[in-house]
Amino acid sequence: MNRTPEHTSQERTLLVGLAGQPNVGKSTLFNLLTGLTQHVGNWPGKTVERKEGTLAHNKTRMRLVDLPGTYSLTAHSLEEQVARDFIIQEQPDVIVMVADASSLERNLYLLAELLILCTPVVLALNMLDVAEAQGIQIELHVLEAALGLPVVPMVATRNQGPDELIAAIEHLAYNPATFHPTLPQIAAPHRRVLDQLKEMVAGQVPAPFDPDWVALKLLEGDTEITRKAKGWAGKLLWPRIEALLAAHEDAVLDIASGRYEWIGRMVRAAVTRPRLGQVSLTDKLDRVAVHPLWGLVLLFCVFAAVFWLTFTLAVPLQEWLDVTVVGQAHVAARHLLAGAPGWLAALVADGVLGGAGLVLTFLPILAVFFGALALLEDTGYLARSAYVMDRFMHALGLHGKSFLPLFLGFDCNVPAVMGARVIESRSGRLLTILLAPLVPCSARLVVLAFLAPAFFGAAALPVALALVALNLLVLVLVGITLSHTLFRGQHVAFIMELPLYHMPNARTIGTAVWNNTWAFVRKAGSFILLASVVVWALSYFPTGALEQSYLARLGRSLSPMGELIGMDWRMLVALISSFVAKENAIVTLGVLYGQSGGGLASTLAAQVPPASALAFLTVTMLFIPCLATVAVMRQETGSWRWTLFDVALLLAIALGAGILVYHGAGALGMEG
């Protein structure tokens, strides 16, 4: 190393490099130190901007070079290569490493890489004001002692600290012997290998490269140094080096591990983070929220609260819309079309308003339901629910990787089926695809949220919760059965980030509610409207009388099954129509029962016995997936055999559960 070891009274120019990660205030500091003296060009042969400036202090003149912002010095990018080449080739007297004090861990990794280049380093600890505002306390003397290098506190934006920094640069440049940094150590398993490599490359590495650094970089798998070393080592030595490196490919993690242990030691020694407010609140809440048992209990309570909120706030509004708005529109349409052909009046009043109009009365339910979910997400709870459920599924012996796609299924079963692509093994992927339709998707939950109060009034909440629990129980039982029979697979570990709890943002929640509700309105305006008209047409033609319609004939052909599960032909038809889209169950009921006059809720309550209603909801929750999901299942499994197997399995489960529930409820006196 070509450095001046002693203090000199002669004026000299020091070469100082300014290193650091992007956005740590490096440019601000550079501007502060160099003022109007700076000039901009390009690094030789590179398109990366090179900024230089000068600074005169006492008898010392400094040439400052602003190095490109980099996260490390591994030469993965042009910027990293430029920064590393500058330090190796131009051998600056001092490198000033500018670090963001509020994010010290992240910044210290770069420092660890700088230190192994054997260049004197001053740590400019910038943005201390930001760190203090976040409650982070850094004991500077402790950090300085732990690192073994000068640490200068700074707030560059307020011009605080440049004089101390200049003094530290000068002192270190003139007294390099005082520089004894604590270097990160490679983890024990590969220390001997590194020593072997050092011996092998000694005498082969040309100046200005440091042989020890080259050996370390070779072990790290640094492509540029490997390429250079191949030339330096020659044909005789290189195969031996290559064989040693091939036998220790995992050494790279031991090297990085040593650096992270070093960072951990430094931070533990000198940094104190706040344990007040948000953090301690998160700790306290998480004692329950992520507890293996209480976490599940809380999750169930949260689900209950979402349904309760939906029923309490939205259902009265929905009923009002149903009777007042849609009901009045129905009457008005009949009145306006009094002179029109009977089929046209029936189409508008019963087909359009009885179906899609009814679906639009879902809006309060949707708004509250999506609002509650967005609230849970924005507070940070939804991540915990995923965490708790994942552990639960592992405990039951299900594939861990199945969890994510299945969790997506709560929104829609289609992405759940497609999300199974993340699973490498075919058996794990198939199992997940087969289980996905058993996750109660938002469309089925909306049907439940609409029909449960209509059928059961004040008892809607426990009924809805019991049905969701039944759904999940069936999912788990089917999952356990299949994973222990047809699909044996291995567990996959997950690491999840649990964000801090925080106050929800009204705007975020509002946006989520608006986007979801608007998407539903568009769906109701096209797809559901079309289905409603088709159902109406089948229920009107050929005679105009419901009892003689095509739909009635279809329903009656299924009456033996209907008798077993306590459903009349209208409910069976509603169930079948839900194959196209789950919401169609309500549309069909609206068209078929709404013709009796009055709001759908009161009509259903009056005409459907509780045992039949419970059986209907049970079958709806467990029924075969919608058409879109089946199509995606076929696409993802690449097999009609598996797709039809799952459809048959779900049909059998749904009808079996329906029969049990109907007769069980009948035995409990819920028939009438």
């Binding site: 951990g264 967005a374 991540a383 999840m496 649990l498």
Partner: protein, 93 residues
């Protein structure tokens, strides 16, 4: 330290980065840095939610709750082999 991260994940099947920080006596920030490093080296895979073709076509994408949730990392075969001390080169065959 890296092996300890992966070993803890395998032991518990599912672990949060905060629990990892506690077990390793370090900060969550440092754990996140290590997780990023493990992703770069293919020992972990960052799970990108909302990235599937179905999600991209989904009309609810703009408001999807799952796309905006916290980050998740999944152990890869390479990571599992490393913890089990199997030769990594055997994975290439």
């Amino acid at each position: 330290m890296f092996k300890e991260v992966l070993r803890l994940a395998i032991e518990r099947n599912t672990i949060s980065s905060e629990e990892l920080a506690l077990a390793l006596d370090t900060s969550p920030e440092l754990v996140h840095l290590m997780l990023e490093e493990l992703v770069r080296r293919d020992y972990l895979q960052a799970v990108v939610r909302g990235g599937s073709a179905a999600c991209k076509r989904c009309p609810l994408r703009g408001a999807c709750l799952h796309c905006r949730q916290s980050r998740i990392w999944m152990l890869t075969c390479k990571g599992a082999a490393w913890v089990a001390e199997e030769p990594i080169s055997s994975l290439r065959t």
